[in-house]
């Protein structure tokens, strides 16, 4: 399952299922908003997505990861809009017969997501804001 959502990601909503019978490993990664970055106090983040294209890219990454690591389950949920401190911006769930595959698959998904999925993060500080990832001339 792939989703880009404006709603808060609540872990409990994803915990009701049992692991697949032929899986021995179930791994949940939550990326959450940290209250600081590069020595600046962060108030909250805001994410923007080119949703149509982001969904296509996430699906490509998901299919590659499932076939590369023979996963029994792979779910990727990215939140957009304002994400407060400690709230989840990214949830990835992987299930596989052995644990190594779950770990490698989730790390791969995060790395690829940060390379090619059109989603952008803006950090809001006490005294301003900044788009993250840009190396362009600052204002």
């Amino acid at each position: 399952m792939i989703d880009i959502t404006k709603n808060e990601i609540v872990l409990n909503d994803y915990m009701s299922f049992k692991n697949e019978p032929d899986s021995g490993s179930l791994l949940f990664f939550c990326g959450t908003t940290r209250d600081n970055n590069l020595n600046k106090k962060v108030k909250y983040l805001e994410y923007e997505a080119f949703e149509e294209m982001a969904l296509i890219k996430l699906n490509e990454i998901r299919k590659l990861a499932i076939s590369e690591w023979n996963l029994n389950k792979l779910e990727i949920i990215h939140r957009i809009g304002i994400v407060d401190i400690s709230e989840i911006s990214l949830l990835i769930i992987a299930s596989s017969p052995h644990r190594n595959e779950s770990f490698r698959a989730i790390e791969y998904v995060i790395d690829e997501l940060k390379k090619s999925v059109p989603i952008w993060k803006k950090e809001f500080y006490l005294d301003g804001d900044a788009w993250i990832g840009s190396h362009d001339n600052p204002n």
Partner: protein, 80 residues
């Protein structure tokens, strides 16, 4: 030919617009389109690092546009 350009993140903010329609000659590639864009939107010249997608696929700057193409200018991504 008519080309729709979509802006995101810092570009959208800087130009105060999320979309723009531009008329270009045939055989126009993406590099040409960017030059035309900067003429109309000089503020865009400050941006050096971005990718371009045409109809939801990343393409390089030599890509020759077709009438009706939707060109998305993709600032450095930072999801996660």
């Amino acid at each position: 030919m008519n080309i729709k350009i979509k802006f995101f993140g810092q570009h959208k903010e800087e130009l105060s617009k999320s979309e723009l329609n531009i008329d270009v000659d045939s055989n126009c590639n993406i590099s040409d389109l960017i030059k035309i864009l900067i003429k109309g939107e000089p503020k865009f010249s400050k941006f050096n690092s971005y990718a371009v997608a045409v109809n939801l696929n990343y393409e390089n700057f030599e890509y020759i546009l077709k009438n009706g193409d939707e060109v998305a200018i993709i600032p450095p991504v930072s999801g996660g």
